[in-house]
Amino acid sequence: MPRTALKQFTIEHLQIMDQDGNVDPALDPKIPDQDLKELYRTMLKARMVDDRMYKLQAQGRMGTFPGVKGQEGCLGYGYALGKDDSIVPAFRETAALFYRGAPIKNILQYFMGMEEANVFPPEVKILPIPIAIGSQTLHGAGLAWANQIQNKPGVVLTFFGDGGSSEGDFHEACNMAGIFKLPVIFVCINNGWAISVPRTTQCASETLAQKAVGYGFPGIQVDGNDFMATYVACKEALDRARKGEGPTLIESVTYRLGAHTTADDPKRYRSEKEVEVWKPRDPMIRFKAYMEKKKLWSEAWQTKLEQEIAVEIEEAVREAEAEFQAINPYEMFDHVYSEMTPDLVAQKEHALEFAEEVAALHH
């Protein structure tokens, strides 16, 4: 009996815009100028908010947070989604969230340690940011399942990192989604590093996109720093999901230009040389070059945008900090259950009494 090949597969890599901002005319999604301008503004906003947050953190006005610099190419995912679609985020896709309409204040307050910041305006359809790695992929699958069962429109896009792809939950989410053809898109933001552990230590496979093959649905690798590629890949995945053809896995290859979080020192585990290679691939630089070529960019416009966004950010910071100052820590008992249990009522009373006693001592 001869041995036969039962299954062969290929994995595509999609890039539409090169490092210098040149677009392949055959693949050009022909995004309208007005949208391009809005997208550019959003990318710039994500970059500027990130910069501002570093300063706030250094001043002790914000807690530890994961920077997003270099990963703003994920913007294309936010742009591709329709009004019924939702995002189950990880924690480094600010550019996509901003495009969907997430307020700056939410991002600031989340990293100031305020739970209420996790509630985005209903129309943007973004679930709370989770911190546990990879486990939100299952919530994305479950949410998509609820849509399928109830015949509701709407595809769910869930983000996770290359580190998240090593977690069992990612496997279980893909497995469930494949079996039940759930309208979900798994977007792996592969930024090369899970804190200090490189992509090569996450998985021995050549691409993360090819993992989809094992679950019976398509996977594609895209240049994650090319917002056109992320947009087009997402659009195709959305079409599949809307037609009832089930999930897609998109591996979005990008690079974290900064540290994992403000508490991390990447010099301990990666070379400056590696970072230098990635610097010119910065999605912001490419987008700007593209806009220049299209005559959509000028120094004056850039300055105007920067000024506008700076005002927007300062307003958000002011509002966020005012609310932060006004918080009452003892509200922490109120949202554990739909109604406080008698135990929590007693514990809250005790905590409040104690706080009053302490306050009396200090006055």
């Binding site: 189950v88 739970e115 209420e116 996790n118 509630v119 679930l127 709370p128 989770p130 546990a132 486990s135 992929t137 299952l138 919530h139 994305g140 699958a141 479950g142 949410l143 998509a144 399942w145 609820a146 849509n147 069962i149 109830q150 509701k152 069992g168 939950d169 279980e172 989410a173 497995n175 469930m176 079996i179 039940f180 922490m332 109120d334 949202h335 554990v336 259950y337 739909s338 249990t341 008698p342 135990d343």
Partner: protein, 326 residues
């Protein structure tokens, strides 16, 4: 009036609730075609179809995590984990997500899901199939933890669990599944959480228990009455979170003595918590130290040795005697 066992009572509750609310869905391994390994979900597939009664792959985190997503998407999922000892594969979905979603979103999102699982030993099952890990769930604030002891309360508590807006760990003592039969009228009312049941009134000592250990406790109470001439008040907790401290304290204030019985490991178990509460609220009413009859702090033994592990009537009786004679 139908006289049925706990399996049938649970099945009846599921039928009633799925009939009443089309948002209720069941998912888990073997729940559809075979009706669950203990047949709790029997007949539901035929009645409600495969969109509402879903056989999944063996995937505890998958089942629990997807159920959570479904709950956020407007459904009321009931996730069945075949044995509670296998819940650990998905424990972080409960502890890190289901239990926290309400707090994480400052009350905006909630997760109205039920996790059903058979729990406890005494049926000569394989390793892991007998574990009693309710204390882990008690240590996951945000979860409610419910532990029925017989057909009637199993039915009423399951209705409440499904209607509850919070995630509920609904732990079914499998040793009781077919051991007791009770009347459970169709359309019987839901039993609210946080209300322990005073199963047997007494004046000399309070015996607190839940789940399968209630039967052992009742038998021990009978023997204590006949052999020791001791009048035992027996309390069935029914829900561990929220816990009905008031009923416990009132009883202990009356009797001055207390024995707690559960089959989960002793250290930091539910018994430890009950002792703390009595300490807080009724210390000066105690005539003797509170005793515990629990599982030991060892991995649940293979079944050849489980008789040495499980709290037994003689062990409970000995604790009652010691407490009364203190």
């Amino acid at each position: 009036m139908p006289v049925i066992n706990m399996v049938k009572a649970l099945n009846q509750a599921l039928h009633e609730e799925m009939e009443r609310d089309d948002k209720v869905v069941i998912l888990g391994e073997d729940v559809a075609q075979v009706g669950g390994v203990f047949r709790v979900t029997e007949g539901l597939l035929d009645r409600f179809g495969n969109k509402r009664v879903i056989d999944t792959p063996v995937s505890e985190a998958g089942i629990l995590g997807c159920a959570l997503g479904m709950a956020l998407g407007g459904l009321k999922p009931i996730a069945e984990i075949q044995f509670s000892g296998f819940m650990h594969n998905g424990f972080h979905q409960l502890n890190c997500h289901a239990a926290r979603y309400r707090t994480r979103s400052w009350g905006h999102y909630h997760v109205p899901m039920v996790m059903r699982a058979p729990i406890g030993g005494g049926i000569r099952a394989l390793e892991h199939h007998n574990d009693s890990e309710e204390a882990l769930y008690v240590q996951s604030p945000g979860l409610k933890v419910v532990f029925p002891s017989g057909p009637r309360n199993a039915h009423g508590l399951l209705l409440s669990a499904i209607r509850d807006p919070d995630p509920v760990m609904y732990l079914e003592p499998k040793r009781v599944y077919r051991a007791i039969r009770e009347e459970v009228p169709e359309g019987a009312e839901a039993i609210p959480f946080g209300q322990a049941q005073l199963v047997h009134e007494g004046k000399d000592i309070t015996l607190i228990s839940y789940g399968a250990m209630l039967q052992e406790s009742l038998e021990a109470a009978d023997k204590a009455a006949s052999e020791l001439k001791v009048s035992v008040e027996v309390i069935d907790l029914l829900s561990i979170v929220p816990m009905d401290t008031e009923t416990i304290i009132n009883s202990v204030k009356k009797t001055g003595r207390c024995v707690i019985v559960h089959e989960a490991p002793q250290s930091c178990g539910v018994g430890s918590e009950i002792i703390s509460r009595i300490n807080d609220h009724a210390l000066l009413h105690l005539e003797a130290p509170i005793a515990r009859v629990c599982g030991y702090d060892i991995p649940y033994p293979f079944f050849a040795r489980e008789s040495g592990y499980l709290p037994s009537v003689p062990r409970i009786l000995a604790a009652i005697r010691k407490t009364v004679e203190f």
